[in-house]
């Protein structure tokens, strides 16, 4: 079974600065997807960014980018120019190629943004 680990329960960043959230995963599959979801206080789960394992290029979405290290099974999220609205829980998630497109989530990292 796949596992996803987020080793930082909480992180803090100054507004306009850059922060990196860590995620590691364990799998025996070679083809899979990785995701970062954001959960603000509203509780809504919002997809931030997606990475396909077969792509070597790291995904980017505006101020959000990832550092995907397949051999190390590492998938970190970098948030540049942090904004107050970035304060939220962030979840890393893994999806293999198996039946059901199921997601396995990490335990989450709470990001606080200081003005």
């Amino acid at each position: 079974a796949q596992t996803v680990t987020q080793s930082q329960p909480e992180m803090s960043v100054q507004e306009a600065e850059t922060v990196t959230l860590s995620c590691t995963y364990d799998t025996s599959e070679s083809d899979y997807y990785l995701f970062w979801y954001k959960q603000p206080p509203s509780r809504q789960m919002i997809l931030v960014i997606r990475q396909e394992a077969y792509k070597q290029q790291n995904a980017t979405e505006n101020r959000f980018s990832v550092n995907f290290q397949k051999a190390a099974k590492s998938f970190s999220l970098k948030i540049s120019d942090s904004q107050l609205g970035d304060a939220a829980m962030y979840f890393c998630a893994y999806r293999g190629r198996g039946a059901g497109n199921m997601l396995t989530f990490g335990g989450g990292t709470r990001l606080m943004v200081k003005p």
Partner: protein, 112 residues
Amino acid sequence: DAGITQSPRHKVTETGTPVTLRCHQTENHRYMYWYRQDPGHGLRLIHYSYGVKDTDKGEVSDGYSVSRSKTEDFLLTLESATSSQTSVYFCAISGTGAGEQYFGPGTRLTVT
């Protein structure tokens, strides 16, 4: 935003009573999922469906059953609610292809 609604949004019930949560989608997606979210555990999969009348168990399925009689509706039933089932429940949907899942707004269930 994906068209996903959950009802009810909040519910308080007593131990031993049956509870049914409903997820409704307007996206005609094939896959639907039920997760629960508890502090320190992230989201854990309860059950999922890969088509009408096709369902399977997830990681934490004990005490839960599901049904899907129409593409747009996926029901989660707690046959006899227990305090350990106090949680926030999320429904999600996914089409084929890239496989990202889109989530509903969640239901907060409290079992007293």
